[in-house]
Symmetry: C2
Subunit: 346 residues, 2 copies
């Protein structure tokens, strides 16, 4: 009999609520012979305030034992900006070498978009997850004085860029439209830009069926709102990926339905799956949060572990559920989770 040994990190704010529904749907969709084990970890603001810790070496050792990690949301206004982000979220992505940050955007039928017309949106962003301006390199001198200088160093390596570019080409190759766009700012960030562009062009030669294009990040934001149908697969650096995936989420149904995977493709470390939205402390504990993004993150998790049929059942259930929402009264977090659990089991 098979088993799925999951680390669950509810985190802060609405994290607990949405993760509960994610697990509900996961239990409902998993085949009977798969033994689901979950272990909950209390990371986030509570733990930080109680112990001053965000993520210790012992924590990493414990997390390593799992097949995958499901995360709700981390972040609270009571903690200074950056402490949990750098000390937990990014530390985990770097420690577990989550270099493929996968963020699909699909505008499902019946879902509201801020865009006029009826754009057809179905693309996936492959965001690099372990390099770029996210490394924490840089520093500050003369802090707090009128002579303060603060630097941020974007670090880009051929090794790091090539592996994520290859991953993106393989994904593009496997999709019907076989299109891949590189998004960067190589006319200004010429050092990193040339590295990305050269590797992209080199790998492209090995994928003759994939149609490629290059786009500056500023122009990409325009296309995302005027021609989102243009995109199939996008590969980009860590910071540009952060920015454009929030925009992509906004135009394709909102961050309430945007899922993501922080993937270690080699399987050396467990991958982590999380909704793109944050902890939304303003609505926490009120049953108002939409658990759909977390449920879709569970689908990404299942797909990553080889449960393709189960992942597809979740995607279909979400599609059907979203398609029937218009004009109906808002449901609670648990009601949406219940409805999705019924659909995937049915």
């Amino acid at each position: 009999s098979r088993s799925l040994n999951l680390a669950v990190i509810p985190g802060d704010g609405i994290g607990q609520e949405v993760v509960t529904e994610g697990l509900k749907v996961l239990s409902a969709v998993l085949p009977q012979d798969v033994k689901l084990e979950t272990k909950e970890y209390d990371f986030g603001a509570r733990r930080y305030h109680a112990t001053g810790e965000t993520l210790t070496d012992a924590d990493l050792d414990a997390l390593k034992q799992h097949d995958a990690i499901l995360l709700g949301a981390i972040g609270d206004p009571s903690v200074p900006s950056g402490v949990l982000e750098r000390g937990f979220l990014l530390k985990l992505r770097f420690a577990f070498d989550h270099h493929v940050n996968l963020r699909p955007s699909k505008l499902l039928p019946g879902v509201a978009t801020p865009l006029a017309g009826e754009p057809s949106i179905d693309f996936v962003v492959v965001r690099e997850g372990t390099e770029g301006p996210y490394t924490g390199n840089g520093g500050t001198i003369r802090k707090g004085t009128e002579h303060e200088v603060a630097t941020e160093v974007s670090v880009n390596t051929a090794f790091g860029v090539e592996r994520v570019v290859r991953d993106a080409f393989a994904r593009a190759q496997a999709r019907p439209r076989k299109k891949l766009a590189l998004i960067h700012k190589n006319n200004v960030l010429t050092f990193a830009g040339h590295l990305w562009t050269n590797i992209f062009n080199k790998v492209a030669a090995e994928f003759p069926e994939v149609t490629t294009e290059y786009m500056h990040v500023d122009a990409a934001t325009i296309y995302l709102v005027t021609q989102p149908e243009r995109f199939d697969v996008i590969v980009t650096d860590n910071l540009f990926g952060d920015i454009i995936t929030d925009l992509a989420a906004a135009v394709s149904g909102g961050i309430g339905v945007a899922a993501s995977g922080n993937i270690n493709p080699s399987g050396e470390f467990p991958s982590m799956f999380e909704p793109v939205h944050g902890s939304a402390p303003d609505i926490a504990g009120q049953g108002k949060a939409d658990p759909t993004a977390t449920v879709l993150s569970v689908a990404l998790l299942l797909r990553h572990l080889g449960y393709e049929a189960e992942a597809a059942r979740i995607d279909e259930a979400v599609s059907a559920d979203l398609g029937e929402r218009a004009g109906k009264p808002a449901r609670s977090t648990a009601e949406i989770g219940d409805a999705l659990a019924v659909r995937v089991a049915g």
Copy 2:
């Protein structure tokens, strides 16, 4: 009698066409007693191919003699990415200390937007122009090998941040809504983020009437498409400003109408005014380019030099012209320029 001594840089692609119309409207709106002198400079791809030069010290000395600079567009696919951008555009912004990059976004009546509903958009972005990831600091080692490492260093100084933050507060104070948003990514780029945030908060104390908010750049892209009416004045760093002003242009009528000023507030060096759009080589020379963004850049130029009434006349003419476009056949570049020239003279 007064004089206006203008450096004109048509540049590449559609640059020449749109600048011609910009000058046409400028001549039409200027009071009779103002003597307009213009000198054209042949920067851009042609000059680069002919001489290998982008912008020499002698060029800078010549440009320095003018009251202001009007630029069409620089950039051509025949020139490697980055050569003209770093060698001309950015070199000029840095040499003339254009630290206030001003980019207004206003959705005018009758103008199409990709956003559904009828959003009300009227804000201005104050983008820092001489620091951040645009400094060209960084480098490459082991270029072209599998061990290549490329870095980009974002340099941020208290001096540079404070002056642009002060400029933005003063602009917010002068507007009816008196709102200012700082956009950064201080939860990840903690060195630069803390510098920006601390200075923003310090200066805020001197402007008690200005309502402030902080927003991460990724979240800002969401608000720009879901709640653009939320913004009044935005202050942000060079790269974030580049990205969000293209998005802002897209939602508020397109880059065909987006103007910008690269301003040296002290007047030590001439300021430069340019449309946000590029050289659009695909439509160059066909009379298809919309000169409106250039004409609006001329308005920013006039306002900067103290010709407030004339600037307002241009803004009104553009407003009226855009309001009458819907359902009419497309006009040529010159026809739009003619119509605007008639309106401002009338």
